[in-house]
């Protein structure tokens, strides 16, 4: 079974530009989560999808961040416009309640905003 995949692995952009991160969950997992670790601090929750619906977006920092999960499969997280403080590692995770609801994480996307 393939794990959670994320693309790109690393992105370097200028302040004010737009970046789109992609996450492909484990096949069959209805729950998809985004987290980020900024400046080596704690890993913070951003939002949670159940299929294509946003179940919990309490962790989204501001309206520069837009997450979508059209069709309930892969998800994208767009940052527009990017700011310096957005630099960090963005993790995606997926889970399935019927399989114990453990969240399995992808390798992360390292975002650097210059």
């Amino acid at each position: 079974e393939a794990g959670v995949t994320q693309f790109p692995s690393h992105s370097v952009i200028e302040k004010g530009q737009t970046v789109t991160l992609r996450c492909d969950p484990i096949s069959g997992h209805d729950n998809l989560y985004w987290y980020r670790r900024v400046m080596g601090k704690e890993i913070k929750f951003l939002l949670h999808f159940v299929k294509e619906s946003k179940q919990d977006e309490s962790g989204m920092p501001n309206n520069r961040f837009l997450a979508e999960r059209t069709g309930g499969t892969y998800s994208t997280l767009k940052v527009q416009p990017a700011e310096l403080e957005d630099s960090g590692v963005y993790f995606c995770a997926s889970s399935q309640v019927s399989r114990g609801d453990t969240q399995y994480f992808g390798p992360g996307t390292r975002l650097t905003v210059l």
Binding site: Y33, Y35, I43, K44, D56, D101, T102, F105, G108
Partner: protein, 117 residues
Amino acid sequence: AQSVAQPEDQVNVAEGNPLTVKCTYSVSGNPYLFWYVQYPNRGLQFLLKYITGDNLVKGSYGFEAEFNKSQTSFHLKKPSALVSDSALYFCAVRDGRVDTGRRALTFGSGTRLQVQP
């Protein structure tokens, strides 16, 4: 609100010795507790979890953790450390109440484990 504390930024242990990585938590409902490990240039890998039942939970790579409700702790342990166990370890908690609908994990700041040969 929920929170996790990992009081040690780094733990050093000699290969073959037992290791403990500490974690304490705070959560309103029933705690669901997790340990993840991050090797260099890799993502978070699930090690083990406590949901209910036996307080001693066994996980991957010979790791185990003990849930202690009175001390609100969930320390990670291994009887004999390997050099290959050197990595960054994260403890996480979520509220186990079904009616909240929230499944977000709250993570600790991480503990770097260094096992010396």
